[in-house]
């Protein structure tokens, strides 16, 4: 195709096998990731329909959602009997279909969106799908990753392809320099809060600008992780030398001449200077403050140091109704200071913020401090490799000394508090503050690892900068 193109256009175009209608295309899918919750169902339905895997070497099974993360658990295979059965089904399915499974006892194990870049399964310019909406995380290394349903997953497993409607393109440029105590989590939360609910619907979003280029690879994964909370199915950052350096030598990354060819290809993917997006916006990060959510939608977010907004400020009736319901659910009142909100639990982990750099930022803050006596604090590393590295650096000792539980890796209490978080207030580094997401009547506040660590020590939501004068 002639003319200047965006990163997205280039990656999309080189995966088009055939046009299926005016806007739907049959795409080559380079990697399919099957985790224990949705992947098990995909393998089950593929076999029930009498199909085989089309390209099993491009497919990876991963056990992450249903395993037990509690330290020194006697058995990690599933936190309920049905969860254990589903893990067992995933094992049998992977064996039956010739798919490599990264299982609980594997030294490479961890959360799908954490280990896919860590192992070089995810690479720039690849199309990667998974029955998990946070597959957009992989955009952080310049892959085109997105979440799909079970039927689409079965189609990918059977054919190595997927029919997709071509989305519109958007560029969000974060410009300026981040102040102290701020992170990629604050950037993405601020974007979601600043824009109207659902603005990313129908778009593939490229994150760009000086503040994005300055982020390390792990922080880029955090930024892209929450594209879907902006309602964008795809979020990505064009890959650069930092990404190539990060990936070089990883287990499934290309080697030798193939590596050189790959890097040359990846360097050609950056958005052309004159490329046109369907929508553009610029966010100035230089005056950004630490962010925290107050309600039950990721759009219910504001500065930690400010007050709970009034539902009356909502643009329309459905949004007002949601905000009012959110206040009732969260047991908050409009106008109250967020820093007056007392916490029961502080949680560090998940595919958003469980990487080594996240743990190090929290540990650096926690060194020599104690979690408030009424707060239960939990840290769940994102992968076995992160846990090993953290322990080699003594971070586990800092967490434990401060009063945190130090867990084994996995998805942990993000999608379910497993009975431990019922009817309590949690500040969490995860990505979803939906009603009952972390457990029945759990009131979740999303924030960065530093804000969670500082709030754990304070016993209430707090701006970490108060400790750093």
């Amino acid at each position: 195709m002639a003319g200047p193109r965006t990163f997205f256009d280039k990656v999309w175009d080189e995966h088009v096998i055939a046009a299926m209608d005016d806007n739907a295309y049959l795409l080559q899918i380079d990697r399919l990731l099957l985790h224990d919750v949705t992947g098990s169902v995909v393998m089950r339905e593929l076999s029930a329909a009498g199909h085989l895997a089309d390209s099993p070497k491009q497919v990876f099974g991963i056990i992450d959602h249903l395993l037990v993360t509690r330290p020194q658990a006697a058995k990690r295979d599933g936190w309920t009997p049905v969860a254990a059965q589903m893990i067992s089904e995933a094992r049998h399915g992977a064996q039956r279909l010739g798919i490599e499974l990264i299982d609980i006892e594997d030294a490479r194990m961890g959360i799908t969106h954490v280990i896919a870049p860590e192992l070089g399964i995810a690479l720039p310019g690849l199309t990667i799908v998974c029955g998990d909406s946070h597959t957009c995380t992989l955009g952080g290394i310049g892959a085109l990753g997105w979440g799909i349903g079970t039927s689409e997953g079965t189609h990918v497993l059977a054919t190595g392809t997927l029919v997709e409607s071509r989305p519109k393109t958007m560029r969000v440029s974060f410009e300026g320099e981040l102040g102290p105590c701020l992170s990629a989590k604050d950037m993405i939360l601020a974007l979601i809060g600043e824009m109207s609910a659902g603005m990313g619907t129908g778009y593939a979003v490229e994150f760009a600008g000086s503040a994005v280029r300055a982020l390390c690879v792990e922080s880029r994964l955090t930024l892209c992780n929450m594209a879907v909370e902006f309602s964008a199915k795809y979020g990505f950052i064009a890959p650069d030398e930092k990404v190539f350096e990060y990936l070089k030598g990883r287990a499934y990354a290309p080697q030798g001449a193939q590596w050189d060819a790959a890097v040359m290809h990846w360097q050609s993917l950056a958005t052309d200077a004159d490329a046109v997006f369907d929508k553009e916006m610029v966010i100035d990060v230089s005056k950004l403050s630490p962010q925290v959510t107050w309600g039950t939608s990721p759009h219910h977010v504001t500065a930690v140091s400010s007050c709970v907004p009034s539902p009356k400020e909502a643009a329309d009736e459905p949004t007002r109704a949601l905000a009012q319901r959110a206040l009732d659910y969260q047991q908050l009142k409009a106008g109250m200071r967020l820093e007056d909100v007392r916490l029961d639990v502080a949680y560090i982990g998940t595919c958003t913020n469980a990487r080594l750099s996240d743990l190090r930022i929290a540990a650096d803050f926690l060194r020599g401090k104690k979690v408030a006596p009424h707060v239960t604090a939990i840290c769940v590393p994102g992968s076995a490799s992160i846990k090993r590295d953290a322990e080699a650096q003594g971070l586990d000792e800092i967490f434990r000394e401060a009063g945190f539980e130090w867990h084994d890796p996995g998805c942990g209490y993000c999608g379910s508090g497993r009975g431990r978080l019922e009817n309590v207030r949690v500040i969490s580094t995860s990505n979803r503050n939906f009603e009952n997401r972390q457990g029945v009547r759990t009131r979740t506040h999303l924030a960065s690892p530093l804000t969670v660590a500082a709030s754990a020590v304070a016993g209430h939501i707090t701006d970490a900068r108060r400790f750093k004068v």
Binding site: E14, I17, A18, D21, D22, N23, A24, L26, Q28, D30, V37, T38, V41, A49, H51, Q58, L66, T80, V82, M86, E89, L123, L126, G131, D132, S133, I148, G149, T150, S151, E152, T154, T159, G160, T161, V163, S165, A197, G198, T201, V228, S231, A232, Q258, W259, A262, H265, S297, H299, E317, T319, A321, L322, G415, R432, F434, E435, N436, R437, V440
Partner: protein, 207 residues
């Protein structure tokens, strides 16, 4: 795949914005060995009181809306998690069509593959339907027709029509109940030609 052409049925209003798939079916219903019974999880947190009995204030527990086939919702319906259990739970409890100003992108695609027509109407059209479906805060029992062949939502009692657009191929798949894998297999030659070229160009992408 189950087809859908036209449905006339009772419409239940659920007019908040951003009703996410965790609300449509909570995570605890996802770990299961069969997709049968997903309907038991539909809106479980809203439908049931903490003691497990039906919440009498929830619209789908009220007569006649327990028989609703159409759900009318606020913007961004089905945002969040990709779980296909969400449209499956809706379908298992009798829903055939959903009307909202916008849907979560993944959820929208999943609906077409489960015999459900997701209909995007403008915010203005939704406001008009809201006036019909809720008066003085009380739900009003009216039927709507969702006609995928004519791309129209009709209000039989008032004669009003609202046009909607749907993606060409997904619409045809749903209208005709086509098996998507079979459809793609017809492209086998194109896939082979593509991969031969692609392997030469992007050999590093293949494991």
């Amino acid at each position: 795949m189950e087809s859908f052409t036209k449905v006339t049925g009772l419409a239940a209003p659920l007019l908040r914005a951003s009703i996410d798939t965790d609300q449509i079916i909570p995570t605890r219903f996802l770990a299961r060995l069969s997709e049968e019974g997903l309907g038991e999880g539909l809106f479980a947190q809203w439908r049931l009181l903490p003691d497990g009995t039906p919440n009498p204030d929830f619209i789908l527990n009220c007569e006649p809306w327990s028989q609703a086939q159409i759900l009318v919702a606020g913007p961004n319906f089905g945002c969040g998690s990709s779980r296909e259990a969400a449209p499956r739970a809706l379908r298992q409890r009798g829903f055939r069509a959903l009307i909202a100003p916008s849907f979560g992108d993944i959820f929208y695609n999943n609906c077409f593959r489960n015999g459900i027509a997701p209909v995007r109407l403008s915010l203005q059209a939704l406001e008009r339907l809201s006036q019909l479906l809720e008066q003085d805060g009380q739900a009003v029992a009216i039927e709507l027709t969702v006609d995928l062949e004519q791309n129209q939502v009709k209000v039989p009692t008032t004669g009003e029509n609202f046009h909607f657009e749907a993606p060409t191929l997904l619409r045809r798949m749903l209208l005709e109940g086509l098996d998507e894998i079979e459809l793609t297999r017809k492209q086998a030659d194109a896939i082979e030609v593509f991969r031969n070229k692609d392997r030469a160009r992007r050999g590093w992408a293949y494991l």
